[in-house]
């Protein structure tokens, strides 16, 4: 997709004007939060399992070279082929090559964020191969010509009326009548995609995990689309990235116990499928060829830095389902493949801060994302680290930097800080005393544009504290 993160502020302004988006996002927050909490309450060991899941990924990342080579050896022994790719360009070229080997005209696709990350659909189309998204949410946004707005519910920004209109427009050529209930829309998509699965020459899926012990790739779905995608065509291509590695079946099982509960509030997703090599000699079905694309795209450089923590992410989406900023602006405003709190950290890691320095600012630092993250990723801390980097690299607007620099200068000098803050509190207190709040403040129009600034009482915390101490001592 085209990266529009540099236009983040304009994106946000546009998003806030869309009434349907507000409805859809409100629904997300009010539905997914409680679903997750109920699932968590149903498993007393949940928090301890999260600790173990974190430890498993930390161990894997600390020994990633070992596990990558172990995985490669097992994959090869099972008859599959591994393709190491440094960049999206290398990954796309490799996939195109494989599709050409299979004489592919259409490929079906299960949901894959890595495929989004490398812009696979546009590339295949430009090369005369038709990609067909089969996950319902991905199908909806594909025919709408949009990008996903959520990592597990890609079309969550759309209301059912919008989807009904879209289906009516795009499905007329199949002779389908206009329908508007979710179950009928699901049924329409099912009817249209059935023959596509069967006609496809290649099936492309993502991978939630790669297992070093067995050389398997794992997908977790509810619809069963990923399984039809990989079982029916003669070639199965998996698009994955370095950090999907997990040592053993026991390890992945522990992580699976927290994944579905965090993502959708289910005890377990409907389908969890382990694919190990191509079909065996006596098998009655399954793909004859099995290829795994292993993408780096900057991940190896994050190892050993404080951003290594981000590589534990299992893409459950809990951080965005519980984020007040994401809830207000939706996923498209981020202008990047990965959105919400995890996207605000991962995007700068993958594309660099120059184009994405606004994203780590899309946070109120309420801390909800870290609280709900099953992999214990300190998202606010990492956003703060990127804020510091963009400050150091002078990426923010100049007045903001000057103000921060002035504040930092004063904050390191307690007497100066007290003098200035007391003077400011008095000034603001005197001027705002009548209404109790300011509607507009010079130099802070952006902040007061949408809300009032409560007027201080005229005293600072420091001076009240000193006074109490004195009173207490007396």
């Amino acid at each position: 997709m085209e990266l529009t993160s540099p236009r983040f502020k304009a994106n946000v302004r546009d998003a806030l004007k869309k009434p349907n988006l507000k409805t859809a996002m409100g629904r997300l927050i009010s539905t997914m939060g409680p679903r997750r909490l109920a699932a968590r309450a149903g498993l007393p060991e949940f928090e301890r399992l999260c600790d173990q899941a974190r430890d498993i990924k930390n161990h894997t990342l600390a020994n990633l070279d070992f596990y990558l080579e172990a995985y490669e050896a097992k994959l090869r022994a099972s008859g599959g082929t591994l393709h190491w790719c440094r960049t999206p360009e290398e990954a796309r070229a490799t996939i195109l090559d494989l599709c050409r080997q299979a004489d592919a005209r259409t490929v079906t696709k299960g949901k894959s964020m890595i495929a989004e990350e490398i812009g696979l659909n546009e590339f295949l189309e430009a090369n005369g191969i038709e990609p067909v998204e089969t996950d319902l949410g991905e199908y909806i946004i594909q025919i709408a010509g949009e990008a996903p707005s959520h990592i597990i519910a890609p079309a969550v920004h759309k209301t059912k009326e919008e989807i009904a209109d879209l289906f009516f427009e795009k499905h007329q050529r199949y002779g389908l009548p206009k329908r508007s209930e979710p179950k009928d829309l699901v049924d329409d998509a099912r009817k249209i995609l059935r023959p596509r699965y069967i006609a496809a020459d290649v099936g492309i899926t993502g991978a939630n995990f790669l297992i070093a012990e067995t050389g398997s790739s794992v997908i977790v779905t509810n619809e069963g689309n990923g399984d039809l995608t990989q079982s029916l065509p003669k070639m199965h291509i998996v698009v994955a990235s370095l950090e999907k590695l997990v040592p053993t079946l026991e390890d992945v099982t522990t992580i699976l116990r927290v994944l579905a509960r965090s993502a959708t509030g289910q005890e377990f997703s409907t389908y969890t499928t382990f694919s190990t090599g191509p079909r065996r000699a006596d098998d009655l079905d399954g793909p004859a060829d099995y290829h795994v694309i292993l993408l780096d795209n900057g991940r190896s450089r994050l190892l050993g830095t404080e951003f290594q923590d981000m590589l534990r992410c299992i893409r459950c989406g809990a951080c965005m389902n519980n984020c007040p900023v994401y809830a207000a602006i939706g996923g498209h405003a981020y202008g990047s493949t990965y959105v919400g709190p995890m996207g605000a950290v991962l995007t700068p890691s993958l594309v660099g801060l120059a184009d994405s320095h606004h994203l780590p600012n899309a946070s109120s630092f309420c801390g909800r994302c870290e609280e709900v993250c099953p992999m214990r990723i300190p998202l606010p801390k990492l956003m703060r680290a990127y804020r510091e980097q963009s400050f150091a690299a002078k990426l923010g607007p100049a007045p903001e930097r000057w103000a921060l620099a002035a504040w930092a200068f004063a904050a390191k000098r307690p007497r100066l800080y007290r003098l200035v803050s007391e003077a400011a509190a008095r000034l603001l207190g005197n001027h705002g005393a009548r209404r109790g709040a300011f509607r507009r403040l010079p130099l802070a129009g952006g902040w007061t544009g949408g809300r009032d600034l409560p007027a201080p009482e005229g005293r600072t915390f420091h001076s009240l504290w000193r006074e109490r101490r004195r009173a207490g001592a007396a």
Partner: protein
């Protein structure tokens, strides 16, 4: 391209990790040596919910399947399965036709007693409405069926037909996924496809409304055989 990319990526990974390794900053709280970990199959924390014994796990298995809109029918012995399958088809107004896995546990059942039933053995076809399969193991923890795609158990039967009827023997019911892994390792390791199935196909992609029958089976029906045989 691939050989270069491989070496370059591994070199970058090692370079990035080297700093931490030298500093002896253990980022590895478990302290496991990786090679031993791959061999050891050590279990992590196992939830308590399946510790109640066989009868409790049967009850839990049924409760969990029903909780995800699957259905369960209990029979005393395997010989009752053909009659129960015929009854299921009639109840749902389905034609008396089955696509069945050529699994000896199924083919050995007394199908002759249901002469009207048309049975085809093999992988699924687009026109199949009902699939009948066995299962490698059933997991009580979440009401989950573990399917292993051995030569007599084609994977497409699990996904293509609208109705999936699964025959489960109580002796194949285990408590946890880990128990199922141990059984699969003992049976020779992972086949091409190992699938955990928990309920019929579903989606929440339209307004987060849970809707059944997205792409896989619209119905999942388990026939649970109580006898030990």
């Amino acid at each position: 391209m691939s050989a270069n990319a491989r070496d370059a990526i591994l070199a970058e990974v090692r370079k990035s990790l080297a700093g931490r390794r030298r500093a002896n900053h253990s980022t590895d709280p478990s302290g496991d040596a990786p090679a031993a970990r791959l061999e050891g199959h050590a279990r992590n924390l196992i939830p308590d919910r399946t510790a109640g014994g066989r009868a409790a796990n049967v009850a839990l298995f049924i409760k969990m399947i029903e909780g995800v809109s699957g259905t369960v029918e209990r029979v005393a012995s395997a010989s009752e399965v053909p009659k129960v399958v015929a009854g299921y088809l009639a109840r749902h107004n389905l034609p008396p036709k089955l696509a069945m896995a050529p699994d000896s546990r199924l083919t050995s059942l007394p199908w002759a007693a249901q002469p009207l039933l048309e049975i085809r053995q093999g992988a699924a076809r687009e026109s199949d409405q009902v699939a009948l399969t066995g299962t490698f193991a059933a997991v009580a923890e979440t009401g989950t069926l573990m399917m292993a795609s051995f030569a007599d158990r084609p994977n497409t039967l699990n996904f293509l037909p609208d109705n999936h009827v699964v025959v489960v023997a109580v002796k194949d019911l285990v408590g946890t996924y880990e128990d199922a892994w141990d059984r699969l390792r003992a049976a020779g390791g992972l086949p091409r496809t190992t699938t955990f199935i928990t309920g019929p196909s579903r989606t929440s992609d339209i307004e987060l409304v849970p809707t059944l029958g997205a792409h896989g089976p619209r119905r999942l029906h388990v026939i649970l055989i109580e006898d030990a045989g």
